[in-house]
């Protein structure tokens, strides 16, 4: 029981208001409030402030024109997802269906394996996707200058569903769960990287060493070097396109990712990586990066 000479703390008054106190504490606070005018006054002030600020916040006008079509957009997306044959449906189907699916998967996997084993670029794609396949992702940039980029101008466009499908299909990873990869820009938009299928590849979060989180750090560093005139834009773009791992080693002066550059593990419930729109306006002219690995391969 609360002693009368010990006032209730603001924290408990608020917890009481929010129904967050245990039954016994709630009774003790109620008894104290019956007797203590000072605490009742404080409680009144807290109630009033809490009510006003909640009302203010809830009056935030977040309902934009986009929100009007939000439900229809979701319904349509859910319809598409429901039609997709996928792995989760079978979490709840009868055992016999699972058995049939398992056999089917085995046959399909074996076929896929033998088809793809013959294709060296696909083998590279399966090698944790740390580096993109040069013939699929040579790198592409908008036609922009370092001055424009450093002044904050970017030409980022939404990645369309068609573009995403094109990239995933090219890498043969259409069925890879979206929480396991980030559809990443080879040349980051901060360096003028274009929203173009030739500049995107599915980079695995769980690649053991050279993963998306490590690349993010390089994507932070290179624009800083460009904007502080320590590195010219074309070199930065080329180094990203040719071999970002080599660029990381060069600029961070290390053979392995720095300890601080290993991000937290991705919670498969709470990560998606990319947001897709059905349509997107075209951007400015796109150019391929000269000196990319694709060029070198073609030259050989």
């Amino acid at each position: 029981m609360l002693a009368m000479n010990r006032h209730v703390k603001d924290r408990e008054l608020l917890q009481d208001l929010d129904g967050e106190l245990s039954e016994s504490r709630r009774s003790a606070v109620a008894r104290h409030l019956d007797e203590c005018e000072a605490c009742r006054t404080r409680r009144g002030a807290i109630v009033s402030a809490a009510f006003k600020v909640s009302a203010e916040y809830r009056a935030t006008n977040a309902a934009t024109a986009l929100a009007e079509h939000s439900r229809a957009r979701l319904e349509s997306a859910l319809e598409r997802m429901a039609e997709e044959p996928d792995r989760w449906r079978f979490a709840s189907t009868p055992a016999i269906a699972i058995a049939i699916a398992a056999v089917t998967v085995l046959v399909a996997s074996a076929t896929l394996f033998f088809q793809r084993a013959a294709d060296t670029s696909m083998l590279a794609a399966r090698h944790h996707l740390a580096l993109p396949v040069a013939s699929i992702t040579p790198g592409a940039t908008w036609d922009v200058s370092a001055e424009e980029l450093c002044s904050g101008t970017t030409h980022t466009r939404p990645i369309t569903t068609a573009m995403r499908a094109e990239v995933l299909n090219a890498y043969g990873v259409e069925n890879l769960p979206s929480d396991q990869y980030e559809l990443d820009y080879l040349i980051t938009p901060e360096l003028g990287g274009a929203t173009d299928a030739r500049n995107l590849w599915p980079q695995r979060y769980q690649s053991p060493t050279w993963n998306a989180r490590v690349k993010d750090e390089l994507e932070r560093l290179l624009p800083q070097l460009v904007c502080s005139r320590q590195l010219d834009l074309a070199t930065a773009q080329r180094e990203m396109a040719v071999d970002w791992v080599a660029a990381y080693k060069k600029y961070f002066k290390t053979d392995l990712p720095l300890e601080a550059h290993h991000g937290p593990a991705v919670d498969d419930d709470e990560s998606t990586g990319v947001y897709l729109l059905a349509d997107a306006a075209p951007g400015p002219a796109v150019r391929l990066v000269s000196g990319s690995r694709a060029d070198k391969r073609n030259a050989r």
């Binding site: 002030a45 809830r58 009056a59 006008n61 977040a62 439900r71 709840s92 189907t93 901060e190 419930d269």
Partner: protein, 192 residues
Amino acid sequence: MSKGSSVFGVSLPASLVGYGAESTASTQEDVLRLFDECAPGLRRYVWAFGLTAEVTEDVVQDVFLQLFKHLRLGRSRANLRGWIFRVGHNLALKHREKAARRHRWEGTWDVERVDRVIDPAADPEQQLADDRRVRRLRAVVCALPELDRQCLFLRAEGLRYRDIARTLDISLGGVAKSLARTMRRLTNAAEG
């Protein structure tokens, strides 16, 4: 009637997948029902990160698509409202980080997007006093550390302390302390 289904190109008879098909339809309905219930609050919360309307809407969509996957995987249906805000919070953070990197900008709550909530029936003098009080409250909210502001907004969305704690990855006591600290600032501002 339940439909047949195709898995990796092989059609399965409806009798084998009936349960799954019905389950999918009912999951869609559940997601839409939760959308009707939670989307306005989620949109408001995500927008308070200072994201654009387009990105806010993408985050909202994505949360409910993730929810659909979550439910189809047969995962827990307990406290889905808390789950929705938690996922929305994480996605909003991720988007804001990307936007900040691209535009060298850090979004924050924009008070200009808050509609006035002053009682129109009050007399002009009272309205002016209310207006001043509201401005002081807004100033306090804007000046709050981000964690305190997020605690406050999640509370305003009706989340329990344990859900706020999980969303913001802090302890239950941390939520109570943050809210008490904020309320003290707000009451001081209201009195001032």
